[in-house]
Symmetry: C2
């Protein structure tokens, strides 16, 4: 990676995703210093103590900017705009900026603030875990990594980001920010919204007679594991991808109403057919 | 178990659940013959070939009824009524009848047809797998087993069924058929309905440009695994527990609308609070 990476790499936001990136870089032979910055001093302390990062700070002015060649945003997407404004004050003119964000149309905002050096990227990996202390060095291996260039994105910075992820064992795929947000609005953001609503339903329907949380079957646990995800991260994703998320929720409600109607009317054969078609679609995924 | 079990045991419906019961009984020293009956000759053949059952048939008249001491219904709940009518013609007056069904108010129907010897039971175990060939001998170990007696249920038959499940390592719990159906309507039937609707949404929202099934993140896969469940079994559960399932869907739609509204209005702090409370509830489950 040396031809591309001439200086240190700074990760903004030292959580599970950012920590896992730092660990993966070290594992795959990245031989420049890896730094971290986080508003939470505990995350920085922990990152240093655990050897995830070589050094870290809580304030932008403390970072040795002259060393920094690449910056990766690994914080909730709702923080990107204010971070970009900070970065603009400090980074050198050839520094690459990229991210791990789950919504990608904010690339346009980033480009306005930081120029064509900004390369939008989204690793399709993660768990419901959060915190740098849970980070792992193989999170991105064999996983999809989606890069969402615009027509302005600088080719050198684009290649550099692609190179970084290939080195970590990710399968790089390109698509437009719009298509990305449509797809992940349905296959990722919608399931999270549904999982949150499902856990809330147990709360609503518990009463003096029964605490429904005492009866979590395996299906329910698997199903709602993602509802334990970081609330700020998901708040930001839902708001950044609002239009597509709401469109996905509308369509989901339509599917649920179809099922509800078939149950209500007791249409045995139609209901079996509907469930059977879906069951086959799902079985084809494994 | 010998004091209770004086003859052979017949499993009606040789699928994953029934096959796993037969295997568990053998593993835990049940030393009487275990028989199976299924309308599908392949299931019977396979059950015999794999040694899951000692003998099996497709027609009620072929069963050696004089030997049968216990009958366990392991077919979709929608078949119970017609099976009970068949059993009534054949079984001896002291034969215990129980089941593995996921809805329990049908105990009242069973009692009318078969008398107080019917004991409703529901093992809280299972996967999205179906078919006797996938059955396993430890499915019920350490799992909840809910018995739902009515005020009429015969004490001897009740004890016998309890004894059977304790022997297999299940944790026996008692509750009314009504409470059972309320609880599992929310914690099991609702999540299945939601998973089916979610997979359907991917179908609806796929178009010429993108096949959304090509982007199944880990979250989506975990989340919708249960949508691969047996469609007939689930059709019957939804219809048998219709009122509680519809009530759960209504409440779920309310929770989803709350979330939708918070996203739509962009209420950042309220949205974070809502997600945070849910995330904490879910984290407490692990």
């Amino acid at each position: 990676m040396e031809e591309f990476f001439k200086g240190s790499l700074l990760i903004v936001g030292l959580g599970f995703m950012g920590g896992s990136l730092a660990k993966a870089l070290k594992k795959h032979g990245f031989n420049k210093p890896i730094y971290g910055i986080d508003i939470n001093p505990k995350a920085v302390q922990l990152g240093k103590k655990l050897g995830v990062i070589d050094n870290g700070w809580t304030a932008y002015k403390e970072v040795p900017w002259e060393e920094i060649d690449t910056v990766i945003l690994a914080s909730p997407v709702g923080t990107f705009e204010s971070i970009a404004k900070q970065l603009k004050e400090h980074i050198g003119k050839d520094t690459t900026v990229s991210d791990l964000g789950s919504t990608k149309r904010l690339v346009y905002k980033m480009e306005k603030l930081l120029g064509t050096r900004f390369v939008g990227a989204h690793p399709i990996a993660g768990t419901e875990k959060s915190g740098v202390e849970h980070s792992i060095d193989n999170l991105y291996e064999g996983k999809k990594l989606i890069i969402t260039p615009t027509e302005n994105t600088d080719k050198f910075h684009l290649k550099k980001v692609e190179r970084l992820w290939k080195q970590l064992g990710a399968n790089v795929e390109y698509m437009s920010p719009e298509l990305h947000d449509y797809i992940f609005g349905v296959v990722s953001h919608l399931p999270h919204a549904v999982a949150f609503a499902l856990v809330d339903t147990l709360r609503i329907m518990s009463n003096e007679e029964v605490n429904l949380f005492n009866y979590p079957g395996a299906g329910f646990k698997d199903f709602t594991r993602i509802a334990a995800s970081d609330p700020t991260m998901w708040r930001d994703i839902f708001l950044e991808n609002k239009d597509y998320v709401l469109e996905a929720i509308e369509n989901f409600k339509r599917s649920l109403s179809t099922l509800e109607q078939l149950i209500k009317e007791g249409k045995k054969e139609e209901l079996r057919k509907f469930l059977n078609e879906i069951s086959l679609l799902r079985r084809n995924l494994d």
